[in-house]
Symmetry: C2
């Protein structure tokens, strides 16, 4: 079985199926990797791939590799790892803090946040939250699928839900909030009422400083006055506005993340492999 030409064109590359392999152990050229029953089912029954098909596998530690598919028995599969397409690389991005809303919208928020390159997702509980519980396993499955589809090498960290005041009170001490010469990560509060700067003004001062901002989007019905007052006391918080219309939570998340990426994130780069 022949490997594809190493000078894969862009369109050949992006149509090669892509599978996240969450291995702790390294994979390397020549290694054979057994797939889980779920992954085998996905490749054999969902994608209906034939034995010998070349796919791509990736994870944050090892980057992206070509691999060829072999079947075992009626249901299982293994992968023979071939050559490396992309080395592992750090993928930094904005953070997202959001109050979970209805199921379909929340799923969309997770999927789109991954596509838009978030580094960390922190679901928060607010006073008007419709939901105090999340299904972390479901969120992670959505994130893996989105990462496979959008050419990321990493899966964002998704934390369990915490009360908003808890995240805020330990913001500066948060494991990653402090970085780059002790600069605290700015938090952009997407506000539909109160005194908010247009988003382009709101983060101009942070535009070229690392770390990238976190954005905070509230539940349907917005934040309570007491929450807004508490947020106003914090010097790392800037209220930003997203225009004259009232946006649904998922629209605000996508809009704010896109704007952050376009102006101070990685949207100066082209997709990998583009010619």
């Amino acid at each position: 079985m022949a490997l594809p030409d190493p000078s894969l064109t862009y369109s050949e590359l992006v149509t090669t199926p892509r599978l996240y392999l969450p291995f702790e152990r390294a994979f390397n050229s020549g290694l054979t990797v057994s797939l889980s029953r779920e992954q085998s089912h996905y490749l054999r029954a969902v994608l209906r791939l034939r034995e010998g098909t070349i796919i791509r596998v990736f994870n944050a530690q090892r980057g992206e590799w070509l691999a060829s598919l072999a079947f075992e028995g009626k249901k299982d599969a293994t992968l023979q790892i071939e050559n490396c397409l992309r080395d592992a690389q750090e993928e930094t991005g904005p953070w997202l803090l959001f109050a979970p809303v209805k199921k379909a919208q929340t799923d969309l928020i997770i999927q789109k946040a991954v596509e838009l390159g978030v580094e960390k997702i922190i679901p928060v509980e607010t006073k008007r939250s419709n939901s105090q519980r999340i299904n972390l396993e479901r969120f992670e499955a959505i994130a893996v699928e989105a990462a496979e589809q959008c050419e990321r090498l990493t899966i964002p960290v998704i934390e369990d839900i915490v009360p908003l005041h808890h995240v805020l009170s330990c913001w500066s001490e948060h494991e990653d909030a402090l970085s780059h010469q002790g600069t605290v990560r700015p938090l952009l509060l997407c506000a539909e009422s109160g005194s908010a700067l247009p988003i382009t003004q709101g983060f101009q001062e942070h535009a070229k400083t690392q770390p990238l901002p976190a954005i905070l989007v509230g539940p349907e019905g917005g934040f309570e006055r007491s929450e807004l007052d508490a947020l106003a006391q914090l010097d790392f918080v800037t209220n930003i506005g997203l225009g004259p219309r009232i946006l649904r939570a998922e629209t605000a998340v996508i809009a704010a993340l896109a704007i952050v990426q376009a102006w101070c994130g990685d949207w100066q780069m082209s997709p990998p492999g583009r010619r």
Copy 2:
């Protein structure tokens, strides 16, 4: 029955139900308006409003007004128009050209485009389109619901689907493309391959000139080479990139519209009635 205090707070205002009244005839203070069976059903059975409830009605010609609900028989309803909340005003915005994708994603594109303030939506047929037909009535119903929810006064114009090359060939002659001292509306092609400028660079030159750009998002699988070649010949077209990840069509639409609005659209403004 008392009208709400004229100094409605922002949160009182945005929780007052809002109904689009597509009347050709003007409505005015004191006028009684009969609702259609569908609208009556929506207010009585879906929202479960009581007789005498104050709601808001709006359209592009008359602006936004308060009105009180009265029942007629078991199923119908009328509205007594009260005072004007907002005068009619011109709502200009970017245009959206997109190749319809799967149903759920296409519906999402229409809803989000309305929320993000598009002025006109033109579904286009491309060589790799999955869909050559659209349900215009369905699109319009989604647009009305989104406009009611997001505080717009206008419903964007939604055109029937046309071949891409047809829109391009008559771009300069398009009824609204020419405006403001004969400046042709720029078209931003969201490109995932080929030579594209990062979006912030791609429309810098157009940033402060009216009319606002149109954005063009292709189908799954992108445009064919011949389409890209034809687009490259047109001096009103700029290829813009949306970063290193591959975005789904609906994500590209929302991201590009948000960025256009933030940088040269109406996102310098606050929601109406905000204090």
